[in-house]
């Protein structure tokens, strides 16, 4: 019962479930699908007001693009982050939320978290498209980097999916997981250079010096997978240059690890879900 064969044999179910999530989410709202754009826009306005206007955060201009717009710089990392949290939160609840279905119908359970990730990925793609247009209008040569961005998006999707697979199972056994993860994600948000540039952390790290051996604060800080993803997305979209090989490989490595562990955990527990719920 491999998860991959489960997924390939139920492509249509996956498509239908994804459609259900996308279609059902904004039913009976006046703005409909536009809501998925309103959220990041609102966040952008708030963060720009607080961090750019009040706190005078000044990230370095895009190199070599020469862009110097805080809102765009922010969005290049904020949108991937929002996608990540949505996949994790949605995926975590996907098993518990479909209790009825799992107890009464036999179908590949893995389609639930995967369809969640895909539906969030769909709305994320729309957001990214809007961002892309904005970047081009602002003068970035972002079009050329679209293929690379798509690859990065797929890698992030894999990473987020892996995490959500683990948590979806954990949440069945411990319902606290979702509340706990809510707090964790908040801390994680500030531990990731989204509203501030990495350079600020580097400065502090310089001041403190090596913590033990040659390990600096920055080294520890950069263990955060989302830090690497933020860097990669910013490099591609805002700076318009290739991200460093190291960061790209780190992203890939994290994605493979997370997906591997997630799939392992999910596979071990999926047959017990009906009784555990």
């Amino acid at each position: 019962m491999s998860l991959v064969s489960d997924l390939t044999s139920s492509r249509e179910l996956l498509a239908n479930l994804t459609r259900r999530e996308v279609k059902g989410k904004y039913k009976r709202t006046a703005l409909g699908q536009l809501w998925s754009l309103v959220n990041p826009l609102a966040q952008m306005v708030i963060f720009t007001a607080v961090f750019s206007f009040i706190l005078r955060m000044q990230p370095a201009p895009g190199d070599p693009s020469g862009l110097d717009v805080f809102a765009l710089w922010l969005l290049c990392a904020l949108l991937p982050w929002a996608f990540f949290t949505n996949v994790v939160n949605g995926g975590m609840g996907s098993i518990v939320g479909n209790e009825n279905l799992i107890k009464k119908v036999a179908f590949p359970r893995v389609t639930l978290p995967v369809s969640n990730a895909l539906s969030v990925g769909f709305t994320w793609s729309l957001e990214m498209l809007v961002l892309l247009v904005a970047l081009v209008v602002a003068g970035a040569a972002a079009w050329m980097w679209v293929p690379a961005v798509v690859v990065a998006m797929v890698v992030l999707l894999a990473f987020a999916l892996g995490v959500s697979l683990m948590l979806s199972i954990a949440n069945v056994y411990f319902r606290d997981t979702q509340h706990f993860v809510g707090i964790l994600l908040q801390a994680w948000f500030y531990a990731t250079p989204i509203v501030y540039p990495v350079s600020l952390v580097a400065e502090q790290s310089e001041k403190i010096g090596p913590l033990f051996g040659s390990v600096t604060l920055l080294d520890l800080y950069r263990l955060n997978p989302m830090e690497r993803f933020s860097e990669v997305f910013r490099n591609l979209l805002y700076d318009n240059r290739w991200p460093s090989l190291e960061s790209s490989l780190m992203c890939l490595g994290w994605a493979v690890l997370s997906l591997g562990v997630g799939a392992y955990v999910f596979r071990r527990h999926q047959t017990k879900l009906a009784e555990a719920l």
């Binding site: 009976r28 279905l101 411990f174 606290d176």
Partner: protein, 393 residues
Amino acid sequence: MSPVAVSVDDVTKKFRVYHERNQTLKAAVMRGRRSVYEDFHALDGVSFEIPEGSTFGLVGDNGSGKSTLLKCMARILYPDSGSVVTNGRVAALLEVGSGFHPELSGRDNVYLNGSILGMTRPEIERKFDQIVDFSGVEQFIDQPVKNYSSGMYVRLGFAVAIHVDPEILLVDEVLAVGDAAFQEKCTEKFVEFRREGRTVVVVSHSMPSLRSMCDQVAWLEHGKLVETGEATPILQRYLDSTRTDAVTGADGQVRWGTGEARLDKVEVLHDGRPVEAVRTGDEVSIRLRYTATERIEKPVFGLAIESHDGVYLWANNTRDAKYSVDAIEGTGVVECRIPRLALQPGRFQVLASIVDSTTTHVFDYVREAAWVAVEFGDPVESGGYLALDGRWS
């Protein structure tokens, strides 16, 4: 022996009965261990085979493990040991309409539900009209299903499920949905299923529907298989066993009831005399002699006939026949007259009962209250149990 559709091999399923379940992290940390539980054997070494093309019933009391077994066949639960092997596409009707999204239209939900149940898109497209037609909700198919009445909801769910075209259909007491017309459609669909040689596995508490549908049953008790085989005798034994006050008389007669009124004797009469044999087409009467130890208001007398091999052929009671008995006390006699006995030659048993006006409280129920042999009379027909006096033209 026909090929096997489902083979259940030494299946054991344990459930944890939690005394203290740590579903919260706090509980787990504070107590330092995960949970306190006991194992409960829902199924314990159950083995049997379901032949292809049969309609197979699972019977047993509540908690006997029959639904668990059905879920194991449906691959919703997995046995702890042993195996369930199914040959062919399986569809389970455990709950209909699960997986409907309330905000989506009936049309979208048909596609969604169909694919959850394992249908492909072209397949659903091909059957879409049939499904909608079957459910009878054409007018509302583009409305969100949350606006449906519960009956419409269930009907649409059932319609999707039954069009999955499985080789093996698992049903858990969902037949009791919808109005009479819809029930009839469902029954027809089941008959069609059987005719097409598909296998149907049913869990039900309804003896009449099991009796009429199943050719084989498995009887489970506390997770163990009591027996499996021909439906009628096993259903009978199961039914008898559930009557805890059932007594088996010296002559093998089985009877139960609270005993305020008892049937002393049941006789088959022809021309006013008790007889042991009658002819097809004769006028016969069945006389019930009873003794009521106390006054019973509005009792209902019932009679039934079964063939020698246990097929339930006929039943009649005074309430349905609109013959009201005001009250009985002491001994007395009631008679049921049958103007033309429409039975083919053979041996038949008469079952008799005295119940209260609601027909739920049994004062006395006697199986094999009398046996009657039917001999060739008029009309003479070729076979079966019934003599319907068919005319050709």
